[in-house]
Amino acid sequence: MLAKLMSLLLLGIVRFLTGSQARWYGCPPKAEQRIYFANHQSHADMVLIWAALPEELRSITRPIAAKDYWTKTPFRQWITTAVFNAVYVDRQATPARPAAPAAADPTVAQAPAADTDTAAAGGPDPSPEVPPRAPTPEELRAALPESDPLAPLVRALESGDSIVIFPEGTRGHGDEPQAFKSGLFKLAQMFPQVVLVPAWINNVQRVMPKGEVVPVPILCSVTFGTPIQLEAGEERRPFLDRARRAVIALREV
């Protein structure tokens, strides 16, 4: 009840300040399972994309919130869990998987491992001509350790929810988004049936720059683009760059 009221109040405030306009260019607002990936410039990004989605989609879409920031005070924690129904993600990743390049390693390491396993189980004479088979999405999901920062997202997707992620990992400073981290690629591998929708969030950093408390009323919009797909055999880096370009391209429409 309180959460419902809070969400109405928050929606009112966000609309009053920013208009929170959603512009659907590449795809209609549709209740299918989706991963929205967007540029990240401010903590308010999450709030804006939440407010821009239509009511029906908002209830099935869970934004990703940075754990260190959004659990700092009891109020922030309450608002992210009760109002936004957010998924917490640990930005200070476990020592085993610090940043982008290293983060890819477990997958790479996992792939041959899974391969030899199935090959061994498959029969006594694995022919050397057979190319190394890519692991199936299910295997990838099963292989994900519980401590992995992606684990909560995978659980959310497995339960059928859509999610909103910011693949840059941290808030950008310049005009262009930073290089995407590999989380998006891994999720795309694990959930090939989920639609990947790029989104460009415009102007939010002007509403509330880092370190300010009072927001300024400035019109913001979220532009949703044409969904992209992980092509068969596409490498990690080209895919992430393509995804990033898809997001940047939305700035111009």
Partner: protein, 330 residues
Amino acid sequence: MNQFLRNLTATQQIGALFLVVFGILSIVTVWAFVRNLREHASDDPEAEAQALEAKRFWGLLKTSWVMATVFWVGWVLGETVATVLFAIVGFFALREFITLSPTRRGDHRSLVLAFFVVLPLQFWLVGSKHFDLFTVFIPVYVFLALPVVSALANDPQRFLERNAKLQWGIMVCVYGMSHVPALLLLDFPGYRDKGAFLVFFLVFVVQTCMLVQHLLGRRFPHKPVAPQVSQSFQWTSWLAGVAAGGLAGGLLTFITPFKPGQALGMALLACVAGSLGHLVMKALKRDRGITSWGMQGMSVTGAGGLLDRVDALCFAAPVFFHSARWYFGL
């Protein structure tokens, strides 16, 4: 007829005015709806242009309905509510203006001040009839306060430009807009509680002028005065628009405290200020490389941008207000 109208109380007269306005709007809406029912060949380029024109017309009609309803609500609920309504309009207009004027981080505090201190204070000054302070509050005090706040943010890059933009936004959207409800509160002798008529008079003559100018601008062979700024602004259609607005003002004498000649003069003044102000705003838009305020042609108001609709009024209202006060010694 005229005698009958004069014998009504002020409230009844204003009620009758709204009845007329809503009646006209209804008739136009029905006419547009019926016209829209006609079928068009879909691949004909002319039909496409026509459809676009019809869409724009519907947008204009929708704004007119909203504005008329807002006026009506403001009148029914009293002067305070009317002032608050105009404050909200000013707020949204300023939001559009600031959105399209690039600001830097150092401007954040000044923007907060502009939206949440200057704007409410200015409209409060109007509502409490502090007319002397209200006319100088923004040009004198805010003019000093905002740059100080910006300077304290320690960012000299494009300082003059950024401050000028903010100052301009406040002048047009807050200062200009606040003069419209101020008309409601102006006390003409023998004209108590009829301020709503004066607001209607101003809005009506300025809109008539803009509309005539817009329509004639397309009819006449094009010879734009300042093609870089506006493709449609030309002296002939401008003169015709101002004349039409003045004439409308002269015909509406009976709802104003003015004599016919005075009403004509005031209407002409408001039209000149409004239409030229609109041209200035067009130049500002061109500077930003856009054709309308509001976000990429689609704003939250559903119209092409709220500021596009009210900018003429923002320029006409202060001129109208001050010349009326000066001329009648109020």
